[in-house]
Amino acid sequence: MTAKRKTPVNQPISTRSDWSRELIDQYYKIIEEVAADFGLDTYPNQLEIISAEQMLDAYASVGMPLGYNHWSFGKHFIKNEQSYRRGHMGLAYEIVINSSPCIAYLMEENSMTMQALVIAHACFGHNSFFKGNYLFKTWTDAEAIIDYLLFAKNYIAQCEQLYGIDEVESVLDSCHALMNYGVDRYKRPYPISMREEKERQKNREEFLQSQVNELWNTIPNKITTEEQNKERFPSEPQENILYFVEKNAPIMPSWQREIVRIVRKIGQYFYPQRQTQVMNEGWATFWHYTILNELYDRGYTTDGFMMEFLQSHTNVVAQPDFDSPYFNGINPYALGFNMMVDIRRICENPTKEDKLWFPELAGTNWQESLSFAMKNFKDESFIAQYLSPKLIRDFKLFSLRDDERETELHITAIHNDSGYKEIRQNLSEQYNLSMSEPNIEVYEVDVTGDRSLTLHHTPTNNIHLADTTGEVVKHLHKLWGFPVKLISTNSEGQQVELARCPVEESEEKARG
């Protein structure tokens, strides 16, 4: 190793594995320097040193420093605590929060090497991703999230005092069931500063109810029934079910509307993270790897430090084969890291194949190209754009078709010339959230009749809905206050009712 090393001009920062506040400061300074040399643009950093118990706490609240109280967080906490205590699960070395300042947790159990790794990974990798990626820029307001969470926590606690824990809990249950249906997938959200939320909230209460009242105004007006029948409400199907409920539920108390809004907003905040897992982790892993190697080259770290770092890094980016007992899907760290490394390789040392596949990339400045990729893509498009034949070969990827109408599984593509494109496309689709989540929209509300709400499910590849569907419809019914039904189109193009709540009514009708 020493042979390869450039002549070190600096003294190693530390030689032992214990960490101290001073050492963290020193490492941070050097890493910051190196990161700046690589042109990483970040929010300010805040490092918080926490214990294992606090890490478990942070897990339960998805890393959020403060959240409202709900039993489901307790469940996750208990689950994590159990598996941690039994040794089934190691704790993540770090959690990082997309806020400004960007908060990164360092666990006290970590060695100095691990702390340095976390600083490079979280404070510069994830942080620059949060600041640069278009989805985060569009969907989240890093400056205001902590304030908003505080507002949400207090508001919900206040509701609990006013209306009782059970009442609030049941509203939250229902909202959580629909949390993934509280985002506009295509429409850009209006980036309001959440700091104003509290002032707005009061006005909103009154305003919203007046809007709703208008919709449900029962005083007969001049429009003939015929005209009314023609007009469907909503005029276009709505994908954001929670938003629709918040704005249009006929008899929902205003505090419940506010809770729907809170869950929706928090869902929206996490939406970019769900869409950029491979990229985000890949980017952060790539940078901790690059930065720490640079540190070594500059003489700041020892061989022992690098051995420990590399061992941990190798574990993180390991990809077990599909037939391995450890296989648990494609490891986003492995895929993301290798794709980032591969982009750098294509820029610096393109092969003939690369020049053919990535003419616009080969031979360019790798830092600029990588930064461009980080800023302007999400997992789905990132894979479609940058997955190279070399990586497909390295990972030995193959595509498998599982069609219930066929008795056997089909291998449709492997890592060869005829398979690269198909594999790339299939993998990209695998990361498309709208493919992995059922497509369900608000289709119609019976405004003049029984106020019932109709949802439409458009099946993807004939995949059925899981058996929890009925429960979710019940939850929606609780929020909406009037009958809710879910209609799907089957493979023959016929409309079938999948679920309805309340159920009794349909039976009564059938009898009547």
Partner: protein
């Protein structure tokens, strides 16, 4: 960059959420506890407990994709496949057979976690209460505890609350000085604006007034008796917190180890339950065959005896011990008797008399468990009369280990619905 050490911050951020979880699934958890209590080792009762509740009960439903349809997935690590290969569908992932297996597998997949011994006790003894607490309470108010209760304007100097007194003094001084100071200020401005040359007498007048005012302000005392506040103490009557529990057990030849084990479980439950209400619980173990003897725990549960049974011998001994060491005015006395129901026929009558006349009037609660699967015998019938006439006497039959907890709950079910009849004893 900022480094914040949060390690000393509050650790249990999730405590509330955890409690919410337990609160929500209380009934399931209680059921799990009731199911497990009979399986616990005797020494484990009272430790933390592993709880399992079915996963499906605690699921959070969402719209999800289920089985079926067409799925195209990418996998890593190809070894021998080429495009166009067909593989048999592996059973666990698809097919009807595999589905069934995974379905039932899911049912078994319980959500298990640990609750602390405090939470365990809380759930174990929920809705239970010590009966007949109210009746003697007033009589038993023998101890007093001195507690703080606000402030007083009178008291001994040692009880002066300095901060309160100084606060009062400041308030009083500000209140009294304020109008005077205002007037003083007014006069001073008047003096400074005065045309001194033209009105010398006026100046003198003003000066006199100012000095007078200043003197008055100075005369306001710094601390007045009026300001003094004394910490106030009152005596709060405290109910006695001493309890004694008598464990009476038949150890004659007919009681085998298994029966004794069941009795022990019952005694331990009772002990833990009493522990929750009383600071100190003393335990007196009395075992008997034809003779009764006070013994220690080890001997009580594990030494084997043979011979006949005279229950009254234990009652006599208990009565003596109460007389010697546990004055009913100072002690809350509880007794639990376990037996397989065997007794000399003539003796049951004696037992009845002893309990009726001298023991039951002195104890808070007397429980009798008969651990047997035979028909009740003479002792049971005699005792039945007692349970009719005494509120603080209860009896139940246990045939197997699973009965212990339900029977225990039966004994201590909250009796708020029952009318508190005065007991018909002569005590």
């Amino acid at each position: 960059m900022q480094v914040i050490d949060r390690r000393l911050n509050q650790k249990n951020k999730s405590t509330v959420n955890r409690q919410r979880f337990i609160r929500r699934y209380r009934s399931q958890i209680k059921k799990a506890i009731a199911d497990r209590i009979s399986q616990r080792g005797v020494t484990d009762i009272g430790k933390s407990e592993n709880i399992s509740i079915p996963s499906k009960d605690i699921g959070e439903p969402t719209f999800r994709h289920g089985d079926g349809g067409k799925k195209q997935r990418i996998y890593p690590g190809n070894k021998e496949f080429v495009a166009g290969d067909k593989i048999k569908r592996p059973p666990p992932q698809g097919g009807s057979g595999g589905r069934r297996a995974s379905d039932s597998g899911e049912g078994d997949d319980d959500f298990s976690f640990q609750i602390s011994s405090d939470e365990y006790m809380e759930l174990l003894f929920e809705d239970l209460e010590l009966p007949n607490l109210k009746k003697n309470k007033l009589k038993k108010l023998v101890n007093y505890k001195t507690i703080r209760s606000g402030y007083n304007t009178e008291g001994t100097p040692s009880n002066i609350d300095i901060i309160r007194s100084i606060k009062g003094s400041m308030a009083r001084r500000i209140a009294i000085q304020m109008p005077l100071k205002k007037r003083l200020k007014k006069l001073q401005t008047e003096l400074s604006e005065l045309d001194i040359i033209n009105y010398p007498s006026k100046k003198q007048e003003l000066l006199t007034a100012i000095t007078a005012l200043e003197k008055r302000i100075k005369r306001i005392p710094y601390l007045d008796t009026f300001d003094l506040r004394y910490k106030n103490f009152t005596k709060l009557p405290q109910p006695t917190t001493n309890a004694v529990m008598f464990c009476l057990m038949d150890v004659s030849g007919s009681m085998d180890q298994k029966t004794k084990e069941m009795a022990k479980r019952f005694f331990i439950l009772l002990f833990m339950f009493l522990k929750r209400s009383y600071k100190e619980v003393e335990v007196v173990y009395i075992r008997h065959h034809t003779q009764a003897k006070e013994v220690d725990e080890q001997e009580f549960f594990y030494s084997q005896e043979t011979g006949g049974t005279i229950v009254s011998s234990a009652l006599v001994l208990m009565q003596e011990i109460i007389q010697d060491r546990f004055n009913p005015l100072d002690w809350n006395i509880y007794a639990a008797q376990a037996s397989d129901g065997d007794n000399w026929n003539d003796d049951s009558n004696t037992c009845h008399k002893l309990l009726d006349n001298s023991i039951l009037p002195k104890v808070r609660y007397y429980t009798y468990v008969e651990i047997t699967d035979r028909e009740p015998q003479n002792l049971w019938h005699q005792y039945q009369h007692l349970s009719d006439s005494h509120q603080n006497f209860a009896m139940q039959k246990i045939t197997e280990q699973n009965d212990i907890y339900p029977v225990f709950r039966e004994f201590f079910r909250k009796q708020s619905m029952m009318t508190q009849l005065p007991s018909r004893t002569k005590g």
